[in-house]
Symmetry: C2
Subunit: 229 residues, 2 copies
């Protein structure tokens, strides 16, 4: 099976994907960043993604327009469902139906066009255990399917989905990124950030992030809407 | 494992997917049609898809806007690659990178939102043996992944990808559809049909279709640009 050092890195604008990109570059991969304008509430994420891609001097940054509100079914893509401010039982309402499968499918198409054998995805099974498509068994299964789905796979190229954060805690992710000089003030994690990228400090994503900086012992550089946070 | 009779049916506007929809309805499935405006050259297909969905009285018909020209890499989505008028060796240039994976991913999302356990896809491994994502082993692999990817799968619903045409010849597909009273004059298969849905009669897709009607012994109702065909 043939392989190469070209990689598609999914860059959302958040803390996790910025760290993933830094790790891929540090490991010697030639990186192509891929972001989605999926008409998410948090459009500030996309501005952050562009800043991060530029800061890391990626080979190319592609932003795909992908209106997931056409499907709906999640607090992140459907205006009729509110983003909760407290953790909930089971699969959260912020889960977007088949989102990672859709994102990885486009990454796979982009990999075919660029000739990349690698896809990096900054998912995490620790903090987001409620999301079915953040589990290692799901990723392994996608990888097998990708091998059968593509021209590259059929022609003997080995397609690998890398998820270097999957078993790390938020604090470990932040410590890794800090060692690799990621400027976390550029990243936006909040589900309902304002147009300036300022975070609410209350949603699931903000709480994980805040606790992460605290337990990593790293100063939290997040811009909050309410400066008392 | 739980299941139900709700089904997402991918309807392209072509002969194969129209037959697949007829088969799903005949088998008692409650059908939701899904089409993609993927900025393909053949926009006439979408008009055909709408007609077919209406004719079969589907529960809902969703047309997703999905600009695959943003990815490129195929004669069908990249203006710099020409559609060939002769069969070629290996994987054809009309192969769209990871197309079926992208389409099935959206079908999976739509299945989650509607609560459907079934997805119908009119792919065929006989005529399109050059496409990696038209093979049974690919479909089985996607099905396994879908089970792990989704809330429904995790909660015990059995997700099935049905490909009733996969081992049929074009003639068998046409005979099946004719028995189920599919009006094939509504369908468009040509890769470069004009805005009225008239076919070139020369591309791979036209040739398979023409030969199919011939060997099925069914009158070819296709509208051709050149009426001598």
């Amino acid at each position: 099976m043939k392989t190469n050092n070209k990689a598609i890195v999914l860059v959302s604008g958040g803390l996790d994907s910025a760290t993933t990109l830094a790790m891929a570059i540090n490991d010697g991969y030639e990186c192509y960043a891929l972001s989605f304008n999926y008409h998410q509430r948090n459009i500030a994420e996309l501005n952050a993604a562009a800043k991060i891609a530029t800061a890391f001097k990626v080979k190319q940054h592609k932003i795909l327009d992908l209106d997931l509100t056409q499907i709906g079914g999640s607090a992140l893509t459907d205006d009729n469902i509110n983003v909760p401010e407290q953790a909930s039982e089971g699969i959260p309402v912020t889960y977007v139906p088949a989102r990672n499968t859709i994102f990885l499918s486009f990454a796979l198409a982009y990999a075919e066009v660029t000739g990349a054998c690698n896809i990096f995805l900054g998912i995490n099974a620790v903090d987001y255990s409620g999301y079915p498509d953040c589990r290692p068994e799901y990723i392994k299964s996608f990888e097998k399917m990708a091998q059968l789905a593509t021209k590259a796979g059929v022609e003997g190229q080995n397609i690998t989905i890398h998820t270097p954060l999957i078993n790390l805690s938020k604090a470990e992710i932040i410590n890794t990124g800090t060692r690799l000089e990621v400027d976390y003030s550029m990243t936006v994690s909040c589900y309902q950030a304002d147009e300036y990228g300022r975070a609410c400090g209350l949603c699931d994503s903000c709480r994980f992030r805040k606790e992460g900086f605290l337990s990593a012992g790293v100063l939290d550089p997040t811009h909050y809407k309410d400066t008392r946070q």
